[in-house]
Amino acid sequence: MKVTVDQDKCCGAGTCVLLAPDVFDQRDEDGIVVLLDDSPSADLHEIVRETVSVCPGAAISVSE
């Protein structure tokens, strides 16, 4: 799985961080998403797919 984020679409809600804190973080200064791990391990795939679905800015995508 390869994760990409679109920082221009990110609204800073932090939904992704609440779901998958090992994969996503937010910048301290403006809350924009920071990708910690663009190739998460298999046990995280399900939750990362959920972040793609529920991100309120539709800013996360994955290719598998």
Partner: protein, 387 residues
């Protein structure tokens, strides 16, 4: 109930799309139909009042998913055909074009319809903003106008005002509150918002209700305030609230009272669920019937409904959250901000344009608000008793 063979989702916006994705992610392999009133593939609404309206984004950028990703969902999208009626016992939806769609489980996610002013229908120059087509029509009118009035001092009205001003147009915001979003955010933050809009050149005419429109030759000419004053305008945006889109359910037997009334599982009747702006469900922790008009609720509730359709039998107990962007302010709110709450700044400096405020009511923290401090506000979610 046992796993359904056919799930019908009525509504092809954020809640409907995410419910469909959640069903598949949780292993549902049966037939899936998504019925949408608009002709467009699922798109996102928050950018309509901002990036799409100002023209920074082409409409395609507001799509929720690319077409190839939608095709992996293995769902049939029936678009441009609004739902017209529901037979609850048979679980059949009738559409405007005459389709009949019967399913084992139905998710109602028809969203909202903007409220309008008496006399605005058919009057050129008057707009609402709910759909992509609304946004594009408003943008087109803005590009050749000289004086805009936004009727509405809530989240949507304030965002539209900020965007229109950012396009270099003269704009007035009208509404009954003393400052924008006073009822949603309290006086301390609302007064800062008023100052922000004023500093950016917005004319604020707040504290007086709007009673109607004046016209000349079939085009709007002004907005009438209850004080008798007329605000001249050649474009008016009416953004003073919306109502759940439930009129098509009249006579269905479902209880619709400020939304589709649901139990704690977001279930309105056997096999019939509701999600998103249209759903008014029993929040068990807060012990109230709640309806939330915000983007994250649409998706979180959709995920909860998908799980319950597949047998999870879990109550939906979210921490409410919304954000709004106006000029350089990004405001994030977690929890609830009751009118009359004690508000204190717990981080940052309001004068520096970055702070977190904590809202206390009845001796407990009910909400936190970040002003240009989204991460710091989010980190305080655990302080909320409803969490």
């Amino acid at each position: 109930m046992s796993t359904p063979d056919h799930v019908l989702v009525v509504g092809a916006s954020a809640a409907g799309l995410v419910a469909s994705e959640a069903l598949r992610r949780k292993g549902y392999q049966g037939r899936l139909t998504v019925l949408g009133a608009e002709p467009h593939l699922p798109y996102d609404r928050p950018p309509l009042s901002k990036q799409v309206l100002c023209g920074n984004w082409q409409p395609e950028r507001a799509r929720l998913r690319q077409p190839e990703m939608l095709s992996t969902l293995d769902a049939e999208f029936v678009l441009g055909d609004p739902a017209a009626g529901l037979d609850v016992a048979a679980r059949t939806v009738h559409t405007v074009s005459g389709r009949e769609l019967t399913a084992d489980a139905i998710i109602l996610a028809t969203g909202l319809r903007p409220r309008t002013l008496a006399g605005q229908d058919g009057l050129s120059g008057v707009h609402v903003l709910r759909t992509l087509d609304d946004a594009l029509a408003l943008r087109k009118d803005l590009l050749s106008c000289s004086r805009v009035v936004v009727v509405g001092d809530g989240v949507l009205g304030a965002e539209i005002t900020a965007t229109v001003r950012g396009m270099g147009l003269a704009v007035t915001m009208a509404g009954p509150q003393p400052a924008p979003l006073t009822y949603q955010l309290g006086t301390l933050v609302a007064s800062r918002l008023a100052a922000l809009h004023a500093a950016n050149g917005v004319e604020l005419r707040l504290g007086s209700g709007v009673v109607g429109l004046s016209e000349q030759d079939g085009r709007v000419a002004g907005v009438l305030l209850e004080t008798g004053e007329v605000l001249p305008a050649d474009v008016v945006v009416v953004a003073f609230g919306a109502a759940p889109a439930t009129e098509w359910l009249a006579g269905s037997g479902l209880l619709c009272d400020n939304g589709i009334v649901c139990d704690s599982r977001c279930r309105a009747a056997a096999g019939i669920y509701a999600a998103g702006d249209v759903a008014r469900w029993h929040h068990e922790t807060l012990d109230v019937l709640l309806r939330l008009e915000n983007r994250t609720n649409a998706t979180e509730q959709a995920v909860a409904v998908a799980a319950n359709i597949l047998g999870a039998d879990q109550p939906y107990v979210p921490v409410p959250y919304f954000w709004t962007d106006q000029f350089d302010a990004k405001i994030h709110v977690h929890g609830t901000l009751p009118i009359g709450a004690d508000v204190s700044v717990v981080e940052g400096e309001p004068e520096a344009g970055r702070f977190v405020a904590q809202y206390r009511h009845g001796g407990v923290v009910t909400g936190v608000l970040g002003w240009n401090m989204p991460k710091q506000a989010r980190l305080r979610r655990q302080e909320l008793v409803a969490a």
